[in-house]
Symmetry: C2
Subunit: 375 residues, 2 copies
Amino acid sequence: MSNPQTTRRDFMRATGASLAAASIGSAVASADQGAATAPPARTFGYAIVGIGSLAEADILPAFAHTQRARLMGLVSGDAAKARETAARYGMPERGLYTYDTFDRIADNPDIDAVYIVLPNNLHAEYTIRAHKAGKHVLVEKPMANTVADCEAMIAAAKAAGRQLAVGYRLRYEPFTEAMIRMAREQEFGALGAIVCEAGFNIGNPAQWRLQKAAAGGGSMMDIGIYAVNAARYLSGEDPLEVTATESTNRSDPRFKEVEDTVHFHLRFPSGLIASCLSSYTVNLNRFRVHAQRGSFEMEPAWNRTGLRLRVLRGSVVEQRYLPQRDHFAAMMDHLAERAAAGTAPLTDGVDGLNDMKVIEAIYASIQQRQPVRIG
Amino acid sequence: MSNPQTTRRDFMRATGASLAAASIGSAVASADQGAATAPPARTFGYAIVGIGSLAEADILPAFAHTQRARLMGLVSGDAAKARETAARYGMPERGLYTYDTFDRIADNPDIDAVYIVLPNNLHAEYTIRAHKAGKHVLVEKPMANTVADCEAMIAAAKAAGRQLAVGYRLRYEPFTEAMIRMAREQEFGALGAIVCEAGFNIGNPAQWRLQKAAAGGGSMMDIGIYAVNAARYLSGEDPLEVTATESTNRSDPRFKEVEDTVHFHLRFPSGLIASCLSSYTVNLNRFRVHAQRGSFEMEPAWNRTGLRLRVLRGSVVEQRYLPQRDHFAAMMDHLAERAAAGTAPLTDGVDGLNDMKVIEAIYASIQQRQPVRIG
């Protein structure tokens, strides 16, 4: 008889795979299984570093929908929570680490990669330590709090000969893929303008996201980065210049240390400009491309589920229906695949670095009250 | 027996009034007729100066929907076209003028106001001449090509003791009125950001709108001004500072002289910022207010008909249905009413002047590559 843990894991693996094929990850599944071969083995082990709300709500459940990735490690300062989580997900206790014992993952062959879900100011340190331990890394966005840290992380990946991916989950889901295709193939003609807006009304003033030292900044670092990344992947260009203005009510207890709303323009080499908005007080959830013969937009644009894509031509509004996919599962599988092939992931360290260059220029433009070139 | 012209005019008057009450101008009609009195007499005579496409497609037909305004004059360089138009609309030939005989309208008691629908660079001259002739003036937007011209026009109105209105037709229709009410009454909480986008793909490169001397500029003067005006009426504030960037393909034959796409931020005294877009290559037709508990938007926002208003709260999208109204008829009636009362119209010369201050600052910001204060 197999032990209960193994049984449970095997059960999840089987149902997870079939669920993914049937409803959530159909595009991935059909592509992978096109040649009527067996699905790839779920042999690429991840250790999740940090069991916060994102890990609990989205990342850990995503392992039910992966094709290649499996949960084989947890790193947490809370031993009881880690043990309880390991049991819930059928993960072997040998994969449990604290922040003090983290570097010992080097000796654990179950773990191929770590997925870093810590506060932003810890991203660089844990990425570099993971690479030194010989692991691939998937790190949540923002990649780090400074351009210098991003560069150090890229250097560490290179030195270790391991892959470094940044958690831009939207790049792994069908609506974003369709938007990029429509933009690049100029389905509605040349692009005239891009508008990307990302924001929400943030709660608890005591959370680390509102502390400058931990978060590196305010809405820009957490949600505005979606707009920066979208403007870059929709245009297919890196901006040359940034112009930004800030609107923050400093008497709001949430904004003692960090910025609330930022309006910014990104000027691309082609001459195209993206108008973007980032906010910690208003809901902003729209990426739109205006082309000569029509506009196309996602709204909601950055949610984990329920994304929508509309095309607007004059008074005609067309809704495009696409399968929904588990973003986190697809992203974790992608790194597994690329790591096996020895090639860089789609959202690699340079992608994360380039966003941070833009964000640093945005902060500089706000301070200097003038356009700032990115170089 | 009455002559055929009079009969036709009386017929149009009667049906126009009932049409307005029944379908198009119901909000106006019910307000005006609330006391069960007879509708106001259509005795306020307009002379239309310039019979171009806007006059032919929208302004002249609007007299079928007015309650107070009637067509009593036409000023055109094309005598045959003017006579033919007068006959079509049942207008007396004594109201026909050329640009040379224009000043003689002073002697025509049928004409209470002129509606100037000429190329932008002629707005100031004809406004001032009309005021000197003792007439009220409704002038198409942009009010003029420079702030200095706007100021001269306001001075001329004051000297003549006549009213000066600028043709911001959206201020006279129910969707815009609802948006303003929702913003001012903070139906969804404090405002966090405003986004106003106005643009279209302009045709014929030879038209006056693409000539700097005639139009004063490119998309900003013609369509971007809707975004400026909307940001001002939705916020209820005049901006302190403008930051603008331009994106124009100068190899496009339409943009030899004037700008195509402009991205600009308006910073208001309250700290609120509006992100705006103006374009002569892409369709942009959306004004949105982001408030703390929801967003509300018009899209289409600036069309003459078919306007739509949506409220977005999380994933809930609510469409608000309102009566459509003939914008031009309502605007012409409004000036008639205010002129009779001796009070300034809703969209007066100062409104037009304030938009031009913003537009001049936008051009200065593009040139200087820095934020420009308005004051």
